[in-house]
């Protein structure tokens, strides 16, 4: 009787101990299984995380690149403008070459005739530089004849005896000075500058200046 009570106490203790260990083993297995699952989840995140990091880096890079691109565009535009502007300065220096051409007489004729056509008056004064005075004197009869054909009325042209300081071409005005048409080579260059400068810049840096 005595022995059986003690034995029962010990048997129950053993059972409890066994239960404690079994529970612990189950919990330990669960801890490991959870860890493995978490590990897998962590590994599975890798491609997504790599994409996030790459996107973040590329976005920073794009922002920097846009800033640099903007600065470069400004620099290129300035360089192109300077080249184009300098080209017109150099063209101004080269203007006398036009007066050295064999067909300059024809050019001068056309410039004076265009001025006459635009003024559309009958009594006009033609001003040229010293070098072109004799040339225009010779041209006056033909100019008057052509002007009469164009305007349909007789035109009287007078060559201003005081030469003016222009490279070439002519300035034509009405006798009373109320209408002046500047068809000097300098004026033609100025007109070309207005027309061509934006286009010249665009041709130099088409990637910067949109059409």
């Amino acid at each position: 009787m005595t022995l059986s009570l003690a034995k029962r106490i010990l048997e129950e203790a053993s059972k409890e101990a066994e239960k404690i260990l079994d529970t612990a083993e189950i919990e330990a297995r669960k801890i490991l299984e959870d860890a493995k699952e978490r590990g897998e989840a962590i590994l599975n995140e890798a491609p997504k995380e790599a994409e996030r990091r790459a996107k973040e880096y590329v976005n920073t890079l794009i922002a920097d690149a846009r800033g640099k691109l903007w600065a470069l565009k400004r620099e290129a535009l300035r360089a192109a403008y300077e080249i184009a502007a300098e080209s017109f300065e150099q063209a101004a220096k080269k203007l006398p070459k036009i007066t050295e051409r064999e067909d300059y007489i024809n050019i001068l004729f056309r410039l004076i005739l265009e001025a006459i056509e635009n003024i559309r008056e009958t009594n006009l004064i033609v001003s040229v530089n010293n070098r072109d005075m004799n040339l225009v004197r010779r041209l006056l009869p033909n100019l008057e004849a052509d002007a009469a054909k164009i305007l349909g009325k007789k035109v009287r042209l007078t060559l201003l005896e005081n030469p003016i300081d222009i490279v070439g071409g002519a300035i034509v005005m009405t006798a009373d000075g109320s209408i002046i048409y500047n068809n000097s080579l300098e004026a033609r260059l100025e007109s070309a500058r207005e027309k061509l400068l934006p286009d010249a810049i665009r041709r130099l840096v088409p990637e910067v200046v949109a059409r």
């Binding site: 005595t2 009570l5 801890i31 590994l43 491609p47 995380e49 994409e51 150099q90 005739l113 164009i150």
Partner: protein, 115 residues
């Protein structure tokens, strides 16, 4: 010693022994759990290390591909080339453009149409 005294004594001894058995089981259980926790931590840490390696591998490939798509980088390169060209050929360009301006002026005059 009376029979009752023996009974009490042996019962007490058994209870003492039982308490020891349970305590020992609890200690072993705690050890087991602690070992499992350490192992679990190692599993997670190892996964984190492998994740970094994997990220690095994917990152390099993705970056290579993504950078090809960044048109600003190519535009910068082209514009830098253009700037360099404009600086190097400045004088030639000015001479060429000024000649063309003169040609334009002459052509413009020759193209005048009279009514």
């Amino acid at each position: 010693m009376s029979k009752l005294a023996v009974l009490v004594d042996e019962t007490l001894k058994a209870e003492l022994e039982a308490a020891k058995i349970v305590e020992e089981a609890k200690r072993k259980a705690e050890e087991l759990l602690e070992k499992a926790r350490i192992e679990a931590q190692e599993v997670v840490e190892s996964a984190l290390r492998r994740r970094e390696v994997e990220i690095e591998k994917h990152y390099e490939e993705l970056l290579k591909h993504m950078l090809k798509e960044v048109k600003e980088i190519e535009a910068i390169s082209k514009l830098e080339e253009k700037l360099s060209y404009l600086k190097k050929r400045r004088e030639e360009l000015i001479a060429w453009l000024s000649d063309n301006i003169l040609k334009y002026i002459i052509g413009d005059i020759n193209d005048i149409e009279f009514s």
